[in-house]
């Protein structure tokens, strides 16, 4: 099997679904439902990921080694043991940082052209 690229820049730009999943996992390890809720909260409910999109993305991120499955449970007494938790890998963290940086540069560019203003 060919070794995946580890250069974060080579993976950019990410699709919105991938970026949102990575962003959600940037806050700590989460299971699928929590990722979906976090994405919906971040986007004011504009993006509600379906099970197919979410687990298709998770599958590709696992294959690309940007995320990894976690065996630990935050609190086994409060959660369903059948849920699968995911967390960012080292590479995944680099990639999401790089993508966020890319977005930040775009935002700066837009501000320079007075398309958007700095938040009050």
């Amino acid at each position: 099997m060919a070794k995946p690229k580890t250069d974060p820049e080579s993976l950019l730009p990410l699709t919105p679904a991938v970026f949102h999943v990575l962003l959600a996992l940037a806050g700590g390890e989460r299971h699928g439902y929590a990722i979906m809720q976090e994405v919906a909260n971040h986007t004011d409910g504009q993006i509600k990921m379906g099970p197919g999109t979410l687990y298709g993305t998770v599958k590709r991120l696992l294959e690309a080694q940007l995320i990894e499955e976690s065996d630990e449970r935050p609190d086994p007494h409060l959660d369903d043991e059948r849920r699968r938790y995911y967390r960012l890998s080292g590479v995944g963290e680099q990639v999401v940082r790089a993508e966020a940086q890319r977005y930040a540069q775009i935002v700066e560019l837009a501000r320079g052209k007075k398309l958007i203003r700095k938040p009050a």
């Binding site: 699928g32 379906g50 099970p51 197919g52 999109t53 687990y55 298709g56 991120l61 690309a64």
Partner: protein
């Protein structure tokens, strides 16, 4: 009731989604199927808490296109096993929005939405059983010489009689349908005769059996036993009505004949007195019947009239005898119950196969229309975007 529906709607949704997961390749399904089903279950619960049935409907509108597009993608990936890891990684940043892809996604989404909606509605609709009793009819009108015995209005007339209060009210009373249906559908409130009759008519279907004198009486009900009981009760009530009507008609006819018989008796008595009086007059004048002189003519005329009256009287007596005998005979030939209604083995309504096939045909048509429209819009916007990009 609301909780039952809640549970049923959620259970049906989850069951359907579990079945739809077959659209994914086996390996993907094995790895992520349970997690996807669990996520869908969580989403169902949230959707129901948010807006109940409408929330669930909106969730399906979101989930189906997602399921269609991602299952196609997973299938394509599964077919292309030789794809390198780099290509797989590259797919994380690949945008698939060509008009053809949009057409396929929209077509499959609309198709599946329509089929799923038709399936859900079909499975949520209450089931109904049918039971059929078959009866053989004979007309009780006497054959008229020189006229064909076929009455084109006979069957239609009898259909209307079977659906009339004359036949159905005894059925309602016998089976206490106004009480039972009141308990079942109107919170225990006893129904009026007209309300019960209306419901009964809606559940009743009559059809002639082609090229025979048979009629099929079919009754639909959510209770298979009730359907059979009502169908049999209608057949029996109609037979009783016909037999009683026939007997009543015969009895009235006999009364009229007997009255006529009495009138004739009086006429005979008068005629006999007249003949005897004339005979006495002729006897005093000479020998009667030695020769028919003009003076004897009234006597002979009266005697002939009396003879005719006696003949008529005799035939009327025979007719009354025959009618009385006929009235005493059981009139089972008027209506014969050929087949008693049996318990339905399986529900006949809704016709699940037909509904789903109709859903599939409608879904295919709507999918083509929606897919073509979406692809056209995508194509036009794509062209405009490319022109704008070229201009800048």
């Amino acid at each position: 009731m609301a909780t039952n529906f809640n549970n049923r709607a959620l259970a049906v949704s989850q069951k359907v989604y579990g079945w739809l997961l077959r659209a994914y390749p086996p390996a993907h399904r094995e790895e992520y199927g349970p997690a996807m089903a669990q996520l869908f279950r969580d989403q169902c619960r949230d959707a129901w808490n948010e807006a109940q049935g409408w929330g669930l409907f909106k969730l399906w509108l979101r989930v189906l296109p997602d399921l269609v597009s991602t299952s196609i993608r997973e299938r394509l990936d599964a077919l292309n096993e030789r794809k390198s890891m780099n290509e797989k990684i590259a797919s994380l940043s690949h945008d698939r929005t060509t008009p053809t892809a949009i057409f396929i996604r929209v077509f499959i989404a609309v198709f599946l939405i329509t089929v799923i909606a038709a399936t859900l509605i079909t499975f949520i609709l209450p089931e109904s059983y049918a039971s059929t009793a078959r009866i053989k009819l004979e007309s009780d009108a006497p054959p008229v010489a020189g006229q064909p015995s076929y009455d084109p209005y006979f069957i239609q007339t009898e259909f209307e009689i079977i659906q009339s209060q004359l036949v159905l009210n005894p059925v309602i009373d016998k089976l206490k349908l106004n009480v039972d249906w009141g308990k079942k559908y109107f919170a225990g409130q006893t129904l009026t005769a007209s309300q019960t009759l209306e419901i009964l008519k809606q559940r009743l279907q009559l059809a002639p059996v082609k090229n025979t004198k048979l009629i099929a009486i079919t009754v639909y009900s959510d209770d298979r036993q009730e359907a059979a009981q009502i169908a049999n009760a209608i057949a029996e009530a109609y037979r009783d009505y016909r037999v009683n009507s026939h007997a009543e008609l015969k009895a009235k006819g006999i009364v009229v004949l007997q009255q006529q018989y009495k009138i004739q008796e009086e006429q005979i008595h008068t005629a006999q007195s007249d003949v005897e009086s004339l005979r006495q007059q002729l006897k005093s004048a000479g020998d009667v019947a030695a020769s028919q002189s003009p003076q004897e003519q009234p006597y002979w005329d009266k005697k002939r009239d009396l003879s005719q009256l006696l003949d008529l009287h005799k035939s009327l007596f025979s007719k009354i005898e025959a009618e009385q005998l006929d009235a005493q005979m059981p009139q089972t030939a008027l209506v014969q119950i050929i087949d008693q209604a049996e318990l339905g083995r399986a529900p006949v309504r809704p016709n699940k196969t037909l509904n789903i096939v109709i859903g599939a045909v409608a879904g295919g048509f709507l999918g083509l229309m929606a897919g073509a429209a979406s692809a056209l819009v995508s194509f036009k916007f794509g062209n405009r975007a490319r022109k704008n990009a070229a201009a800048t």
